[in-house]
């Protein structure tokens, strides 16, 4: 057995502490440290989540064409057939949102566990399987209404304030395979169970003790099956003798989810506090859009690669009959384009400290899935990444920092300045042994 070194220990400590802090994949704020996220996650099924590793986020790309046989990738099932090692990975996202409209500003922060994935190379670099749990959309907001004043029928004046918090979203539990058919082509397929678990809590606080405080919760649940396909083309010796190019693509079929909506509140009934159902509806329709992702990555040498990738989601066809918050904003097709480059000095024989890492940088533009009177709620991201490679195994810790500008203050919309710190931990050989079959 290999001796566990200090870095492996610290890596595990970080993973455990963050899992403990964020209650991995918790569906509501009561069990999560997440406080507030994007204002725009208030609408519809939540804000679409990009489940990238920190490495991919550092590049500003989905990662559909980023061929790497030693670490996980969620975006392209075809890549799972190229894995060499048993790998488990998870990603975490720390975000800070500075939001403003024409009148006021506020600040939210959130801590979220992004995904959990396990890949097993059944036949090394030929056929691999993956099991994963990851969010597709995420509602994560905390919103305070300004103080309101009402006059009662008896001419009493009462002040009150309301607070709305949202949590949950759509998640997928996915099991799939990747198959490397030949050295130029790989294919993958991943069916998944997409399930909605979204909760909105409205609190009202009054300045009169006889009104008390009240809480009402809106719970949405439902599930359906989803299907994802991926393909990867690889070519070598394009321009020089040691270069290569990979072209990747994935496609997700649209999903219709039948959801149940339940509105509950706690009332004192027959002398006891009891959760009562105020309204309940079944068979409401929610839709997830079709998604196509494609891109190309060019590797001039084993020290450098550059990627250009894009994504299209047909949100305009994903109107749902739930969550009336969407009424003021319209769903629109989302396009995301990213360009990034990566440098791998750790593959050199340099003894310099700075040569121990992997560096990346990128920029991406996301048109967003919401619009208001023709204004898309778009986001421009700038990103940079750092990869820490274990000197004793192929495990890695990737860290990326992103700065994003989302939305606009025209039409009194909300502009958000976002700082995001992503961390993904990719454990190989530390805890999993290579299958003897190989």
């Amino acid at each position: 057995m290999k001796k566990i070194n200090i870095h492996s220990f610290l890596s595990l400590a970080i993973v455990i502490s963050i899992f403990a802090a964020s209650s991995v994949f918790a569906q509501d704020d009561s069990s999560s440290k997440s406080k507030g996220g994007s204002f725009y996650s208030l609408f519809g099924l939540g804000f679409p989540t990009d489940n990238n590793t920190a490495r991919e986020l550092g590049l500003g790309i989905p990662g559909v064409s980023l061929d790497n046989s030693q670490s996980n990738s969620l975006y392209n099932p075809a890549l799972w057939g190229k894995n060499v090692l048993t790998t488990t990975s998870s990603g975490f996202l720390f975000s800070k949102f500075n939001s403003s409209d024409n009148n006021t500003a506020n600040e939210n922060s959130s801590l979220q566990a992004n995904y959990l994935q396990l890949t097993l190379p059944i036949y090394r670099e030929k056929f691999g399987i993956s099991a994963s749990l990851y969010p597709v959309t995420r509602s994560n907001y905390q919103f305070t209404n300004t103080t309101n004043t009402i006059v009662t029928p008896e001419d009493d004046t009462i002040n009150y304030r309301t607070e709305t918090t949202g949590s949950g979203g759509v998640n997928k539990l996915e099991i799939g395979f990747g198959w490397t058919i030949n050295k130029n082509f790989a294919f993958g397929y991943a069916p998944s169970l997409a399930f909605v678990s979204q909760k909105t809590i409205n609190n009202a606080f009054f300045d009169r003790i006889d009104y008390g405080n009240t809480t009402i919760s809106n719970k949405i649940t439902g599930s359906s099956f989803s299907h994802r396909f991926g393909a990867l083309l690889s070519f070598q010796n394009i321009i020089s003798s040691d270069d290569r190019i990979t072209i990747g693509s994935s496609f997700i079929l649209p999903v219709e989810i039948s959801v149940d909506e339940k509105i509950v509140s706690t009332k004192q009934v027959n002398g006891r506090d009891r959760e009562v159902t105020l309204n309940e509806q079944s068979g409401l329709g929610a839709k997830l859009p079709a998604e196509w992702t494609g891109g190309v990555t060019y590797y001039p040498s084993n020290l450098f690669n550059i990627s250009l990738e894009g994504k299209l989601q047909t949100w305009s066809e994903a109107e749902s009959s739930i969550n009336s918050n969407t009424q003021s904003l319209e769903l629109s097709d989302r396009t995301k384009l990213g360009l990034g480059a990566e440098y791998h000095p750790y593959k050199t024989n340099s003894t310099s400290f700075l040569s121990n890492f992997r560096y990346s940088g990128g920029v991406s533009f996301d048109s967003g899935h919401l619009s208001f009177q023709g204004d898309d709620i778009n986001t421009l991201w700038f990103s940079a990444g750092l990869g820490i490679i274990s000197p004793f195994s192929n495990s890695t810790i990737d860290i990326s920092a992103q700065y994003g500008l989302r939305g606009t203050t025209s039409n009194n919309l909300v502009r958000e300045k976002i700082w995001a710190l992503n961390l993904s931990v990719n454990l190989t050989e530390l805890m999993f042994f290579r299958p003897k079959l190989n």
Binding site: G36, P153, G212, T214, S324
Partner: protein, 406 residues
């Protein structure tokens, strides 16, 4: 530690610090409230459409802190004739210093009146005669409409009440001698004989007195005076009560009288069906029953210097069939409707009842609105009923929250 390891350790440390910094920033606000469905507090008023008057003529009126005595012709609540009944204990503590033997003493009745309350003409004088009661009675079970017999042929005492609050009444020797025979009886059955044969005194209003006073039971007592009338012994009350004879009660259109004696109360049918139809899905935060008093009628019916003890709250009880008067008058009400200061209405929070009706197993929808009291002070009010003008009818106000779309 190698140079590389030192660098990595620094990175991990920085990472932990960033986690703490990012996770600690939070200042949620109202950014974007033009685009959200703002929860709005809304009101709905449901009329109480079914009311009726209930007359409980046998309300309790014995052994309360106060008694009532006098006459008053109230333009709203009728002609009231209140007679007080008192009976001394048989074996008072008489000090030897009084040197009482046989019937060598005299007796007086000391009546201490409530200093704050007079019902009627506050400047008038009321006259009373005192007679011996000849029928059996008991304070704890005495009802306001119980009529006790008393011997009007033998006047035991008489007195007038003006503005004074403490009155001493000389009692006739004939009655004193009768009391002395029980006082001095040392037989085993003395208490039993006293209980069944000696019934105390009735204080009967006479003439056309224009007010009702309220003797305080704790300040009313009999006095035994020695032969020289230089020393006294106090004889507390054993039983006390009063009866009311109310007549010529005028009807007020659209309103029902309520009395602390429960001679009149109001029955309402809670608008449960309408409530269920309109608010089964509402997030109700407050439910209140409102009752308006006919304040103008009450004020205009009182001549100058006349006073009517006011009330500060109504009591609401769910309808019961067992010992209903006891339940409505003497037990704590299910809901209390305090008067709203400077306003002519009473407001009862009934959220628990509404919750039980909407989400529980509450099937009872009748309530009794009254001002039942065990103080003994006569208080009355006039409450508008379902026949009153719309803005004065009893009503249920539901306060709830809706999400208002922008």
């Amino acid at each position: 530690m190698t140079r590389r390891n030192k660098g990595l350790t620094s990175l991990y440390t920085a990472l932990f610090a960033l986690i703490l910094i990012f996770n600690g920033c939070e200042n949620p606000g109202s950014v974007g409230d033009d685009f959200t469905n703002s929860p709005v507090v809304t009101f709905d008023t449901l009329e109480v459409k079914n009311t009726s008057v209930l007359n409980f003529e046998d309300g309790y009126s014995g052994n309360f802190p106060f008694m009532a005595m006098g006459k008053y012709n109230d333009q709203i609540f009728g002609d009231i004739d209140a007679t007080t009944f008192v009976r001394p204990i048989r074996n008072p503590n008489i000090p030897d210093s009084l040197e009482i033997e046989g019937n060598n003493f005299s007796m007086k009745l000391e009546v201490g009146l409530d200093s704050a309350q007079t019902y009627g003409d506050t400047l008038g004088t009321a006259s009373f005669s005192v007679y011996e009661i000849t029928s059996l009675w008991r304070g704890t079970s005495h009802r306001v409409n119980d009529e006790l017999d008393y011997n009007e042929a033998n006047l035991i005492g008489q007195f007038q009440v003006g503005s004074e609050k403490n009155i001493l009444i000389d009692l006739a020797d004939s009655w004193k001698d009768k009391y002395a025979s029980y006082l001095n009886n040392e037989e085993d059955n003395a208490d039993s004989l006293y209980q069944y044969e000696f019934h105390g005194l009735a204080i009967v209003p006479t003439g056309s007195s224009g007010k009702i006073d309220f003797p305080n039971a704790s300040e009313t007592r009999f006095l035994i005076l020695n032969e020289d009338q230089t020393d006294t012994a106090s004889v507390p009350l054993n039983n006390w009560a009063y009866s009311i004879n109310r007549s010529n009660v005028p009807q007020t259109e659209g309103a029902f009288p309520l009395h602390t004696t429960m001679e009149s109360a109001m029955r309402i049918v809670f608008p449960t069906e309408e409530l269920k139809q309109k608010h089964s899905s509402s997030n109700i935060i407050k439910s209140e029953l409102i009752f308006y008093s006919a304040e103008e009628n009450l004020q205009n019916s009182l001549p100058v210097n006349h006073y009517r003890p006011n009330i500060n709250l109504l009591g609401l009880n769910q309808r019961t069939v067992d010992d209903d008067v006891f339940e409505y008058q003497l037990t704590d009400p299910d809901f209390i409707a305090p008067i709203i200061e400077d306003s002519a209405y009473f407001k009862a929070p009934v959220n628990t009842f509404v919750n039980n009706a909407l989400y529980g197993e509450e099937e009872q929808n009748e309530m009794i609105v009254g001002i039942g009291s065990s103080s003994g002070i006569l208080r009355s009010t006039l409450i508008f009923n379902s026949e009153a003008p719309s803005h004065k009818k009893p009503k249920l106000i539901i306060t709830y929250i809706v999400n208002e779309e922008n």
